[in-house]
């Protein structure tokens, strides 16, 4: 044990000296990271609203393909808590029977946007398309 500690002393020529500049710099960067993380999380914990998820579904683009009309949609959670397994449904009415397509989005954090797609047989641009979120699970 004594020899081990002696060699360690020797490896560091002046144990009483000030820490090198690089140590101060890296510690300062670390402090900044810690402050950013704790600051933002703390601010969010104290001030964040806890309203239920409020999900708006928007049409982004329609692309005709040989396999149907691919309709890209965007779900925006305006509420104050996250939603999981969000079922997004689009009902296309117009000529004949209304056509329904749905998709499940895994996770939409609050104040965030997630995109997905619905596929219709008929052109959604020609009829009346109603998009909405049908349900969700609470994010654990």
């Amino acid at each position: 044990m004594a020899t081990a500690s002696k060699s360690r002393r020797a490896a560091k020529p002046s144990p009483r000296s000030e820490p090198p500049l690089l140590e101060w710099i890296s510690a300062a960067i670390g402090l900044a990271c810690a402050l950013v993380a704790i600051g933002f999380v703390g601010w969010d914990a104290l001030t964040g609203e806890r309203s239920p998820p409020e999900i708006e579904v928007r049409l982004v683009a329609v692309t005709p393909t040989p396999h149907g009309f691919v309709t890209q949609v965007e779900a925006i959670n305006h509420g104050g808590s996250s939603a999981a397994q969000v079922t997004v449904e689009g009902v296309l009415s117009g000529r004949g029977e209304p056509e329904t397509a749905q998709a499940t989005l895994d996770y939409i954090p609050e104040q965030s946007r997630v995109s997905g797609g619905l596929v219709f047989e008929h052109d959604p641009r020609a009829g009346r398309l109603v998009l909405r979120a049908k349900g969700f699970a609470d994010a654990s």
């Binding site: 044990m1 360690r8 490896a11 560091k12 090198p20 890296s26 810690a34 703390g42 994010a139 654990s140």
Partner: protein
């Protein structure tokens, strides 16, 4: 200048250690969703607790052979920075961060959650990857509170790698009460054998002098207690205990305490 170069090498080692220790978590899907979903108050508590823990760990296994408080604080902060930056860079490379539409707070949550295991890795690396001798000098000084603290860090560290996964809950659901008791007995036995019987480095022979029963009561039992507490704390942090029946919480805690006990036992090998 020379001191700066030496510190630079230590810092590079710290990054290596952080990488080795935290990449399994960075590449686990549950960590990303938990980073977004964990209740902010619990994440805040976790981050605030992690700083004194890093400080204590720096005292026992810093990446610089020092004893002074100023250096411990600098080391702990630098380690947090290493873990944080590494998590940010790697998650960014994996395409987890900056997905269009996800808010900044979601990204920050992911990085902050992954930063802590990285920071532990950064501190431990000083000893594990270093060319110098292990800090036998410091370990010798670790009294009972020190040993308990190191066991807690080891338990936290190993339990953390599996705590976020769904499997912990699934295993708890699959196990009956008898199996839970069996797993508990196995955990305690392994903890005892690993630390005091197998002759790994860091085994405390000093304590063995008091007789097997005293060793068990004095160290193995507190070690398992620490493993249980750490497990319950992690489950609570990750929101796994919310609305769950008490006996299921107990089973989950026992399941997670198995890796935690192994971590507590091997803490003295790693840290």
């Amino acid at each position: 200048m020379d001191a700066n170069a030496a510190y630079g090498r230590a810092l590079a080692r710290a990054f290596g250690g952080a990488l080795l220790f935290s990449f399994p978590l960075l590449m686990t899907m549950e960590m990303w969703s938990l980073g977004m979903a964990v209740e902010r108050v619990r994440l805040l508590a976790f981050l605030l607790l992690s700083l004194p823990m890093l400080l204590g760990l720096s005292y026992y296994a810093g990446f610089e052979p020092t004893f002074r408080l100023k250096d411990e604080v600098l080391d702990a902060l630098a380690a947090f920075g290493v873990g944080f930056l590494l998590a940010a860079v790697l998650l960014g490379v994996f395409g987890v961060l900056g997905q269009s539409g996800l808010s900044f707070r979601a990204d920050l949550g992911k990085v902050a959650l992954c930063a802590v295991p990285g920071a532990i890795g950064a501190l431990v690396a000083g000893k594990q990857l270093g060319e110098g001798a292990p800090s036998a000098h410091q370990k010798e000084r670790a009294g009972t509170p020190g040993e308990i603290f190191l066991m807690a860090v080891g338990a936290l560290f190993l339990a953390f790698t599996v705590a976020p996964t769904e499997e912990m809950i699934l295993i708890a659901y699959q196990m009956g009460p008898l199996q839970a008791l069996l797993l508990m007995a196995l955990s305690v036995l392994l903890l005892h054998v690993f630390v005091y019987r197998l002759g790994f480095p860091g085994e405390s022979r000093r304590r063995e002098a008091g007789g097997p029963l005293r060793t068990f009561v004095g160290f193995t039992a507190p070690g398992y207690g620490v493993a249980l507490i750490v497990s319950l704390y992690l489950l609570w942090t990750f929101g796994r205990t919310d609305g769950v029946a008490p006996h299921e919480i107990a089973t989950m805690t026992i399941v997670l305490a198995f890796p935690a006990a192994l971590g507590a036992a091997t803490a003295r090998l790693v840290v």
